[in-house]
Symmetry: C2
Subunit: 240 residues, 2 copies
DNA sequence: CAATGAAGTGCGGGAAACCGCAATATGTGG
DNA sequence: CCACATATTGCGGTTTCCCGCACTTCATTG
């Protein structure tokens, strides 16, 4: 059994390697890559089917690497081992996981025991192992209560990129008014109103800018999701 | 000689401890804190004058911790050991360093040799040791060329928080028009114009939203700087 | 099939953002 | 003191944002 580690912090890499050899004696080979791109390459060369990776790497995000790897071999088991439980990451992962693939999401703050348990669960038992902290987000983001629909998330990203209502309408094939409707729902759910307390003589917040701000502060968005969206936007702009 | 480590990642903590004991045999005591708040407390109790800390911690940012520590004892030598060289961090640090204090800024990607050299330079020789990658930013941010003045940076933060022009004017004691002028300079420097290529029939970007976006993408702003600014804004709002 | 509800669209208007122009500080060096 | 650059302010006007209101789809359900 062969396991591929994709992780850019060398300290975390040796920690992972140790945890793996202890938790999985049936593993006889551990390969390592220190960025997403190299990870994709190694996965292809070794036809790796068991991978542990960080999200948030320089040359290629974990999400991106996982997507191309899963596109080539959807049965690959991947454990995401990440510092953060931002909604943007969780949403990004659950958006790309193929039907029936075994995967996991555990935080780096988890104990060594939890990590080892997840390793066995995913790679031996073929289960999905998701940390409780992350699980909470996942529920919320897919279910209704307080969560966001995909279309709301879309406009959130679009205004975060700085697009005008009109540009969003063009991009998403909607009327201007529909875009504005979605924005209003978004403002509603983000609770942008309730803004300032005392004399409401003049508004203190620009709604769209404020929405981006609170989305960032509440970890609904993060910068690497933004980077991703930026290149997608670039594609779209040149394509037309 | 006593050294205080403030760092939330346990792996990095032991790595640091090892590097310190190897590079500084004259050091006979190493104390550790795993967040900024605990770090402040330990610094006070031990009257620590030699500190190595991470920026980017949960309970209290490195910047915040350093500020209170330096306020109490400005001659403290602090080495910032960070993952990122975002302009927001560099600007934050150089904003709070007291006159004549020894400090350093080295990236976690630096070799162990560089780290040890910095440790000796700062704690023994009383020098300032700043990594080249960081140095570049520092030049740019303080000097003119392409850099931002403090007032431009201020409005950048304000629009990132979602404030309206009027609200910014009130907060900074300026006229509405002055705020708008600063914004235009900001847009100029961020190169927001040059935006879309072919048919400029309608604008594709909302300037203020786009400005925040590119500032984030170019690491002129980051989320923890935003969080910081958000609480300052909260203070200001209640105070009036 | 009628009823209910959710999402999209058009119209209209008030508020904010964006910006050119010009007058007035403020300040720095000769 | 004057000359010059820089920053601030006011005015006016266009564009975009924000949103209430009314109408249309379209799907779900009893």
């Amino acid at each position: 059994m062969k396991i591929l580690i994709i992780e850019d912090d060398p300290l975390h890499r040796v920690y992972l390697r140790d945890a793996i050899t202890e938790a999985l004696p049936e593993c006889d080979l551990v390969i390592e890559a220190d960025n997403g791109l190299a990870g994709e390459k190694l996965a292809r060369e070794h036809t790796a089917t068991h991978i542990v990776m960080d999200l948030q790497m320089s040359t290629r995000t974990g999400i991106e690497a996982a997507r191309t790897i899963w596109r080539e071999r959807p049965e690959t088991a991947i454990l995401f081992w990440s510092n953060y439980s931002d909604e943007a990451y969780v949403r990004g992962v659950s958006r790309i996981v193929p039907e029936g693939a075994a995967y996991g999401y555990v935080l780096k703050t988890a104990s060594e025991g939890r990590l080892k348990l997840a390793l066995r669960g995913i790679f031996i038992e073929g289960q999905c192992v998701i940390d409780r902290e992350v699980r909470g987000l996942q529920q919320k983001s897919l279910g209704q209560r307080g969560g966001f629909t995909d279309s709301e998330y879309e406009v959130l990203v679009d205004i975060a990129l700085g697009l005008t209502d009109r540009a969003i309408a063009r991009r998403r094939n909607l009327s201007l008014r529909s875009v504005q409707n979605r924005l209003q729902q978004l403002y509603e759910k983000l609770d942008i109103y309730r803004a300032t307390s005392p004399e409401a003589d003049t508004a203190t917040y620009n709604l769209r800018a404020r929405a981006v701000s609170v989305a960032l502060l509440r970890k609904l968005l993060n910068v690497s999701a933004l980077e991703q969206a930026e290149v997608e936007l670039g594609d779209w702009m040149t394509r037309r």
